[in-house]
Amino acid sequence: MTVLVAAPGLRRPSRGVLVGAVLAAWLLLFVALRGQFTLSAGGPTVVPTWLQHLKDGADGQRNTSPLFLYGFNEIRVAIDPLFTNVQGFFLRLGWLGCTVLAAALGLVFAGWRMMLLALAGFLAFGVLGLFGESMDTLALTLTSVLIALVIGIPLGIVAGNSDRFQQVLTPVLDLMQILPTFAYLPLITLCFLIGPASAVIATVIYAAPPVIRLTSAGIRNVAPATTEASRSLGATRWQTVRHVQLPMAKRTIVLGINQTMMAALSMATITALIDAPGLGKTVLKALSREDVGAAFDAGLCIVILAVVLDRVTTAASQRAADIGRSGRATSVTARPAIALLALVAVVVAAQLPRLTARVSLLFPDGWVHPIRPAVNTASRWIELHLFSTTEAIKNGVTYRLINPLQTLLGDSPWWLLVLVVAALGYVLSGVRIALAAAGCLVGLPLLGLWPSGMITLASTLVGAVSAMVIGVVVGVWTGRNDLADRILRPFLDAGQTMPAFVYLIPGLALFGATRFTGIVAGVIYASPVVIKVVNEGIRDVSPSTIEAAVASGSTPWQVITKVQLPMARPHLLLAFNQGVIYVLAAVIVAGLVGGGGLGLDVINGFSQVSLAGTGLAAGIGIVLLGIMLDRITQGAGRRRAGSDVALGAH
């Protein structure tokens, strides 16, 4: 640990050298101490046992303790009917009513193109044989979004107007967003049992931050001159909010609503784990039976739902902004007519099943053509003909990369690992981050989760580095090539809105149920974000700098390595940070398909009563791991920015 006490007065070596030194010291000590103090049995089980008691105790008191009677149970009883009503509404509308309603909303708020998209999307649900499941997922998503908005927009307004509140809120929102979706499911079921209410609450927690953040940001972006003008005319606080801030922040807030909706959809599918109805459950069942085809159908429905929701809300916000600007008379007079027509169509479509027996509430069986058989055939073909290739890739990465890394992590003395994390944290980000990160890691043995934690950590690191390699290559390419950027961007945008769940399916088809599948899913899940951030960093480099480099005779390769990448460094660090968080989330979900690690512990906690304590502990363990990885990688970026400022001042 000599690096920690670098001699004062001497010039501090570069951070790259220091990181290398830490890693070298680790390897040396690993060789010397291998297999000692390893906690391979999991360490003390005090905490999981205590959590198990807590869970049992909670189950015992659910109908006696005032905390449950007047607290959690009340909330559950309030939320359940909310969801059931939305779900029931869709049921009563029937498949035709729902489809026409979606098309009508698309037409009125977003134009005829979006009407066609919504129409095609909803028909696809029926054709794939999952109309009811899709509506359940939609109901869950919409209920959660509704609650998230009712809570989130007022919070955002307050945060936009109060610096103090913003300061308190920001770390909470940070935490809510970096937590992998799995982490708080056990805790929520402890309070609210499994079922739709818990699913809605978990979804709200995950989905509310974007709308809170963007409402606040939108309000903060309103020109101070405008709010001041309003104040100078004697407007009350509320008048300023209503007439000035909200209208001017509208576009940003709508963007927030869009992001909240996509996050909600992503979480709503995952809540299948706690017995929420919908597409997630179909995927889950299919995954557990390794029925790739069935998973593919449901996954496709999730993708379609995501695309429809995203495109329609984006188009609606765009259109609202356009109409607000132009103030054209035609759009004002023509819209009520269209809206009325659309309403009539919905009512007719909803009443048809009651008027004629030829139209049913359920999607006609004859029209159902799932692609499951075709996918399963293809999957079997892949298994037969590509087995050697996929197996070679899988084994190559597993034996060369994952296993050695896991051995290094798992067979090191646990305290050595804590010291390494502390040293890295110190070198990259300073004392406070070092202590925080090491503290998080010490939590794992206390929770009795050391081996699972190391499995998850190894998979996450391998995945994050892979995603980073892909991200830098593609990001630099699209950053320098406008055409590539234009072509790829829609795919990246769409890829970003998909739930991590969906990516397990192709992984499963290619590589079967292993750790490697989880890593592949994580890489696919994280790549769009990483690519986008790198791309942005490359594009941020000022054209005159590039021009100067080219004018002095640099080759393109030199421009990339000596100008663009170094100048994009803050973005690269941010990209890695995001990559780590995304891969972690996906790796946890991959516990479903043989990924093992903390994700599996959480899932086992749901399925087996005797393991509930371990499940709760694993949830906490995921939180600790997530915070540790986030702090170290994020701190690196922040420290860098800080030192640049300091240098500039000299």
Binding site: A223, A225, T226, T227, E228, A229, S230, R231, S232, L233, G234, A235, T236, Q239, H243, V244, P247, M248, K250, G324, R325, G327
Partner: protein, 360 residues
Amino acid sequence: MTTVTAAATVVAGTATAEPVISVRDLWKIFGPGASRVVGSPDADLSRAELRRRTGCTAAVRRLSFDVARREVFVVMGLSGSGKSTLVRCLTRLVEPTAGQVLFEGEDVRGMDDRRLRELRRRKFAMVFQNFGLLPHRRVLDNVSYGLEIRGAGKPERYARAQEVIDLVGLQGYETAYPDQLSGGMQQRVGLARALAVDPDVLLFDEPFSALDPLIRRGMQDEVIRLHHEVGKTMLFITHDLSEALKLGDRILIMRDGELVQCGTPDQLVGAPADDYVRDFVRDVAKSHVLTLRWIVRRVTPQDALDGPELSPDVVIRDAVRQVIQAGRPVKVVENGALLGVVDSAGILGVIAAEPQGDPP
């Protein structure tokens, strides 16, 4: 009012009638522990020194002045001199640290939120440098905003808004959105919004700084015209000396938050208080600003006193032709009393000393 004037230590300039706004010993200090600075020895430190010692910035220091009814009072200073903060202190858009602001004798700092809002809604209106228009509202709705928030009904506020839109020459643009208008037109909307609430006092915070010079001159003429037509009290912030001289009945020059000089345009040009002001007014064509009062000389026995008479308040430039054509000393008479005479030598002396170049 008498007690206030008696208590005031420094009252810059003299207001003729009862003042509409009276500012006494006003301080605004930004930073931690700002309220402790006033009254302590730190208050006498220079701005830079204060910042170094306490981390506080004194934006307005020990400022006192009066604004008379129907007067156009200009506050002038370079950027960072505290003039924008000063104008915001008047209606407490920025909360003053110490001192007194009186509006028609009522203490503005003592008002509760409700009373303050009433003051902002009915007595003051402000025009901003960056316009501060609402981009999502049409011109008509922007102009009527002040009426809307104080609860006026739609027909009433639209009628009033239409009146002021006509007054500032925006007819035909009622349904346009702000970003469809040029900068000058946008500021007309800002002006109309301020006029719509029929305030007693109009506050202008560098309203024309963001405009092109030609448009700026047009807007200045517009303000002069409006002042003639509606006769409001105006407090005008600017960093442009020619603008200050053109519009101001009286001008207050600020530096580093402090008052340097306060007086009529010819007082500033004719008798600068210090080098700072002298430097400022160096390029001003004196004959355009100074009156005959500044060059009148005592009557000597040689002077023939059969020439024409002029008032001492005539600007020199306007008297040039008459004095030179007369070919003899011109008598300067105020209220029947002979103050002295002016001759061509005196007038040419002023003009010859002027900087060469185009007049302001």
